[in-house]
Symmetry: D2
Subunit: 342 residues, 4 copies
């Protein structure tokens, strides 16, 4: 059997570990051959392949990124895209696909599976917001990087009497902010699921100064102020210290807190540092097990499925289940941590 | 209500995070007061207390060790020990206990609960071998430290044509070896649950040299050779290179591999470095959630229970369930990773 | 003898290590007593003291920040400031001062020394731009943090075909950018001392894409475009991808590169993460030796001096020498690394 | 010009960074071609070559080990070895050599230079004991790894009332122990240059327990007890706790301390973890600059020289000067830190 492998969407530590596990197990235990498709769905769409075997996977386990490259190409938004994929798979002699990616990449996989393409999915999202699985690889790495940053900021906040705002990834879901905020001992965690009241945030910051704690506010990039509570400073206005803060929510929040509390505030926007580089042990273990199980699913003919962590087991769930809706932080989960922030 | 808190057994990153969560939630949401008992069960046995409130918990979240100290004292092996504990709890006005510890510490808690002491347990074992919970805090930190060590050893093994044996913790269970071995890309993982065949290990090492891979062997401190396969070198004998290797299984294994394969081998015994220092984000999050849930269990009068991670939920299970038997690596779990080692 | 100690200016890993060394040596070997002045020159100005002895220094060696607090207060810009300092020193029975700080803090120390205050200085600047010393503590930590970030960004740049711009500290001097750029294998390093030509930067980025290298551009916060080469996009305009990039040079540069090359670019602004948290071993060693030597200088009556690293020796140089002019990256030093960037 | 490059001796983080710098600069700025010799002096001795150009050096900057491999082969101890080297260099068309290594490797280089071979040396020793240079690359990485280990052990020592002995590298010189001991806040540092008095070490450990400090003893692998002070336990005897401690000085010291003080003691032997893996930023910077300067020396015809760090400059010194005698910790340097240990 000849199996194609591709990786799509944003970077995420652990992609190479999945690829390696798929190839090592498939080669040794199932006698498969592999074709690497480059740059996500662009690969099978345009026939961009690369050799993929045990040799190519040497030394890649601890490395970030993906040896296959990635893109956000969606064949369903391209005229005749699906046919071209089917034709290319046939031309390359590829019987089945392992697609590693997030909502978009697996969304394409789900539709292709419905159209008869033999595909197995491996969930990938740094934000941990895919349903059906307890965790996705890459998330633990991102949370550790954010937590280390918060650790480093604590002493500055305390010694230098500053408010520090840390903007972390999470466009729709606040998992990184919540976990890193708990792990880093933040004073407040603001997430997309719970619009925040800026006055309450500022009041809380001031309480922290009184008790001489370091006021560190962790905010998801997708967090928004509650209606009516909103931020008084327009983007680009000067604040009390003459600073102009622009760009993302982190910068705007720091500006607003300075303006309202009269305390100096600084924002740190971690950005792509959270997405790259070597994965944590947890993420390598999870990614490896996803890969092993995915290629076993191919061997079993269990197509249209996606791998999912449930407790310590790797289960196979229908692809559609994983991509149907985002997994958001519930009100109860947010409240659980409130004792540290309230 | 007045609640005593104690930590027992070996060191484990995350103990302070549990203590902080218990105290923060208990103080704010349940109006509890706390008494710190020093050095495990020795504290209530000998009436060794220390003040424990929000102030004492400041800044301890990222710190290894335990502000309460620890010991391996077992009141059941001391004449009149249980009565002294009951008397001291009464004298200190302590209504309930939160006991944080492993098999031994929670074993005592289980028996005391049977004797009417109001106690809630939080599982702690670096080896991850307590039943009833998916993971225990500290384990992820230990696995990461072992994985980083393996990462560092890879390049030396490759450049310098050496076999490197890494001995990790795990007296009865091979979880640390298995997870770090998978995450670090080891060539072989030897665990207590699966007695190893030394000839097979050496044959595998030689294969790795042929394919120019770095031969790294991860071994649990409790791993043993299979009957009859055994190690020919007695402890203390000189090997082919004139080295005398003594002490633990790591050193003996390195010696044996040198002797049988004629390749230079070195052992690295990670030891206590795996047990101390700052916890990973995962361990801080898990320890914090255990602490929150434990003090809620006290508030609910849910005594005789132990906290347990199940998927992403914290459940309460009977103390006896967690300490009845060790959680070992199953043959299936070991086989899953065999593709990388076989 | 009674010695006051203060720390001024921005945060810098190693401040606590200096304080501890001063106090440990001074107490044991010179029989000194110590007074902690809080928040830089604000302490002696307003008589803000705290107890400072061996006990207060326990456990602070690996911690970022400063137990004494800091500020940017300048007594020379306050009416009667110098007299108030002299009066407070006299009132506190303080015979001599150890002042730990950068250009501003040591500038004040220099002037006070001229006015008869017995003061010894310890240089502190994360930017490494103080003259007279090979290195200052904190710099090595900042460079390592920036290098780790660059390491993490490499794989994303390669897998995802992106330009990554990393903005690091360095308002007037490019030392952090130069060292982290060399250590991280950057494609280009832009520093304040060498105004850059944006067209050349973009041409270089495009070359890197052709050879499939990850184009990573490290830029000091104080770097500026050369006259006439300048950036065409005003702050706030939309770029080719519809992104509005604002704020610092990192964001503007990413925007400009996208606009000119048509390649996606992202900026990472490391900010305060570089300044806080635990110091590297080098910085702890250097800070400790500065502290030991500074209190020995007090014991020797060698006032008006500043500690300086020369090779592996700690020398005492006149305070004025260290603060007379900034230490900038020379054209030769910049050119040395050009082979990697050119 | 055709230049051969080789790396000899034990592993040391930064070797690849030197190789990359030599090749990048030599190719671009001097028009050189390169030949990689495998496994130290074994390469030119046996004619083992590999292609070496900009392509082979891609991505190696942050990696430990050496792409060229290493060995301890000494051509002067092999009949006709020197002639075979000369013949092979001639056969490979190699005009000059860059030899990267420690005392042994550079000792060979020194003798070959005297015999007319055109060779430039780059000093390499994890122990930092080569004369003529302030520091060697790899040392900073080793010190950081040892310091992180000590950091981790502190909390265990405190919480669990244990003595922890950390054995670090340093056969003849105590630099790693001294720097890591200062940086990690050790209670005592024992080095080869200063034979230790075991009774004094134990007395000091007991004092530390009284003041509730964590007693951490850092010991170089080459440290020895002073005559007459010696260790009473023979290797292999049972100590007070029934433990048998064998092997290196770390294990024996832990055993002896237990025996004499009645306090539980544990040894951690860091071993090869100190030698492998990614270099710190300092080591990458130093290794890169050594490489740039070494290939410039070849271009200048400045043979028989070795690169040396002096302050922040890279100087060229005669090869013989660097290998004439070991650089040891002086009594003054040891005494400087004594305040923390005494």
């Amino acid at each position: 059997m000849r199996v194609g492998v591709l990786t799509g969407g944003g970077d995420c530590p652990g992609l190479n570990a999945v690829i390696r596990a798929v190839v090592r197990r498939g080669t040794r235990d199932h006698g498969f051959e592999f074709v690497g498709y480059r740059d996500g769905w662009k690969g099978p769409l345009e026939g961009l392949t690369m050799p993929l075997g045990v040799e190519q996977c040497r030394g890649i386990l601890p490395r970030g990124g993906t040896i296959l490259g990635s893109s956000r190409t969606n064949p369903f938004s391209i005229e005749g895209g699906v046919e071209r994929i089917k034709d290319n798979l046939a031309a390359d002699g590829v019987d089945a696909l392992v697609a590693i990616g997030g909502e978009d990449t697996l969304g394409v996989a789900t539709k292709l599976a419905d159209l008869g393409v033999k595909v197995v999915g491996v969930p990938k999202t740094i934000d941990n917001d895919l349903s059906g699985t307890d965790f996705t690889f890459g998330f633990d790495t991102a949370v550790n990087i954010a937590t280390e940053a918060i650790d480093r900021l604590h002493t500055t906040a305390e010694s230098h009497h500053r408010v520090l705002v840390v903007e972390v990834m999470g466009r729709h879901a606040g998992w990184i902010a919540l976990h890193a905020g708990i792990a880093g001992g933040a004073s407040a965690v603001l997430i997309p699921e719970q619009p925040f009241d800026i006055a309450a945030v500022c009041a809380h910051v001031e309480t922290r100064f009184e008790s001489e704690y370091a006021p560190i506010v962790v905010v998801s990039e997708g967090a928004v102020p509650a209606d009516g509570s909103g931020m008084t400073l327009a983007s680009g206005e000067k604040d009390a210290f003459g600073h102009v803060r622009l760009g993302g929510i982190g910068d705007r929040l720091a500006s607003e807190i300075e303006h309202r509390t009269g305390k100096e505030a600084r924002a740190v926007v971690l950005g792509h540092v959270q997405r790259g580089g070597t994965p944590t042990a947890f993420d390598r273990w999870l990614a490896t097990r996803f890969g092993l199980q995915a290629v076993d699913a191919v061997a079993d003919g269990d197509f249209g499925t996606m791998m999912a962590l449930r407790g310590t087991r790797i289960d196979r769930v229908p692809l559609a289940e994983g991509t149907a809706e985002l997994k958001l932080v519930s009100a109860e989960e947010y409240a659980e941590a409130e004792v540290f922030f309230g």
